[in-house]
């Protein structure tokens, strides 16, 4: 979640409620249980790590004081690194999804380029897993594990096709992307 929050801040400094709203919009029904407290916990950790800084503190006449957070140079660096780094063979679907949303919102990366890179990575992993699977007896314990890994990778690749379709459609409609 830390990387996602940082990436959302790359677009513009925001306060916790706004970050939560954007996260919930990106996560849909899966984001319902996300409360603003979790967002603030993450922001506090990021602040301690020197990755974000409180830009200013509004003190309205009424209502709660809203803290607005902005990226530091170190935070900016980490977001850029996160966008560029490969997700690894076991990456979560929600994490990659949020990465695409954050990439589009912040303009730090092209979602379709991220999808292409991810497909290359998964395809290589599938080739490795499959080669090992074919060399093993299907009925062995090791073969069973390899088959499971290969099936997971296939499922991820299929989902990527859907990602590509949707983000290509969003791009052609001229939406910068996301829901924010």
């Amino acid at each position: 979640m830390q990387d996602v929050v940082l990436a959302l801040l790359a677009k513009e400094p925001s306060h916790g409620y706004d970050l939560r709203r954007r996260l919930v919009a990106a996560l849909g029904p899966l984001g319902e249980t996300l409360n603003v407290g979790q967002v603030y916990v993450t922001l506090t950790r990021l602040e301690k790590a020197g990755l974000v800084v409180q830009d200013r503190e509004d003190a309205p006449v009424r209502g709660p004081r809203r803290k607005v957070y902005a990226l530091t140079a170190a935070g900016q660096e980490r977001v850029t690194a996160w966008m560029g780094e490969s997700a690894g063979p076991r990456a979560d679907v929600p994490e990659f999804h949020l990465k695409l949303v954050a990439a589009a919102e912040s303009g730090l990366a092209d979602p379709l380029a991220l999808v292409d890179a991810r497909r290359r990575e998964l395809m290589r992993s599938l080739a490795e897993a499959q080669q090992a699977t074919l060399e093993h007896d299907t009925n062995s314990e090791a073969g069973l594990l390899l088959e499971g890994v290969a099936l997971r990778l296939q499922a991820d690749l299929r989902w990527l096709e859907a990602c590509e379709r949707t983000w290509a459609a969003l791009a052609s409609r001229g939406k910068g992307g996301g829901n924010g």
Binding site: G88, P89, R90, A91, D116, R119, R120, M123, R124, S125, L126, A127, E128, A129, Q130, Q131, A132, L134, T138, V149, A150, L153, Q154, L157, R158, E161
Partner: protein, 258 residues
């Protein structure tokens, strides 16, 4: 099959030379005016000898059309197709048919076997049509059927074989003339997962034997058997990925490192 029992004779990669299969600015359009469809749209492709290439993409992306153009089954609207250093896109029908019989192996989704011929007869027919003697044709057909694991099914009719077995007969047939290249169109499209596994294993062996192969597929498992994967979208090549030469330890698949 070669004498030492390998699936195909080994071929060395032609370093720096133009590939066995080459497309230059290849396009195929259907219809005209507002109903014009660009099935293949300006594709440049070079497949070196000994490479296995997978062309992936959703249905309707033009991948079957591309395969038909490369295999001389269809003619481009513009652009060039080269096979083994020879331009083939404007050959006459007769010359094209001869080329397909002798220099190209085809594998189709729906097998395309002759129903009234046994497995071994299906394979040897392809050799006979390419000019082999009956004796040589039978020997090569028998050897290849053994190689694809169907020695004890050689006398069976296609109707007596499972889908996976039929496709293995089709692969044996595609290899019987030691073709320059094998083209396969959705070879696992009609197969269950067990049969698919057999085909994947065979494709892995073809790759190891350095048989030049172009396979069009939307099955990522098939694509993962190739040296190289290109993605086709709306008739255009988008992505080009090399799968060979990976040196990562298999344990990385667990994602436990770091």
């Amino acid at each position: 099959m070669t004498r030492d029992g390998r699936l195909v004779s080994g071929r060395s990669t032609a370093g720096g030379r133009p590939g066995v299969v080459r497309a230059v600015g290849l396009s195929r359009v259907y219809g005209q005016g507002k109903s014009l469809v660009r099935a293949v749209d300006g594709v440049d492709l070079d497949v070196p000898a000994g490479q296995t290439l997978a062309v992936t993409g959703p249905s309707g992306c033009g991948k079957s059309t591309l395969l038909q153009l490369l295999g001389g089954l269809d003619r481009p609207s513009s652009g060039e197709v080269w096979l083994g250093g020879r331009r083939i896109d404007h050959l006459g029908e007769r010359a094209l048919a001869r080329l397909r019989r002798r220099a190209i192996g085809f594998v189709f989704q729906s097998f395309h076997l002759m129903d009234e011929l046994s497995a071994v007869e299906n394979v040897e027919l392809a050799a006979l049509l390419a000019g082999a003697s009956p004796r040589a044709a039978r020997a090569r057909a028998t050897g290849l059927l053994a190689r694809v694991g169907l020695a004890n099914r050689a006398r069976h009719l296609p109707s007596e074989l499972s889908g996976g077995q039929r496709q293995r007969v089709a692969i044996a047939r595609a290899l019987v003339n030691e073709p320059l290249v094998v083209f396969a169109d959705e070879p696992t499209g009609n197969l269950d997962s067990t049969a698919t596994r057999d085909i994947l294993r065979l494709f892995g062996e073809l790759r190891a034997a350095r048989q030049t192969l172009v396979v069009v597929t939307h099955d990522d498992r098939v694509a993962a058997t190739a040296d190289r994967v290109v993605a086709l979208r709306d008739g255009t090549l988008l992505d080009d990925t090399r799968l060979d030469g990976g040196t990562r330890p298999l344990g990385a698949l667990l994602g436990w490192e770091g």
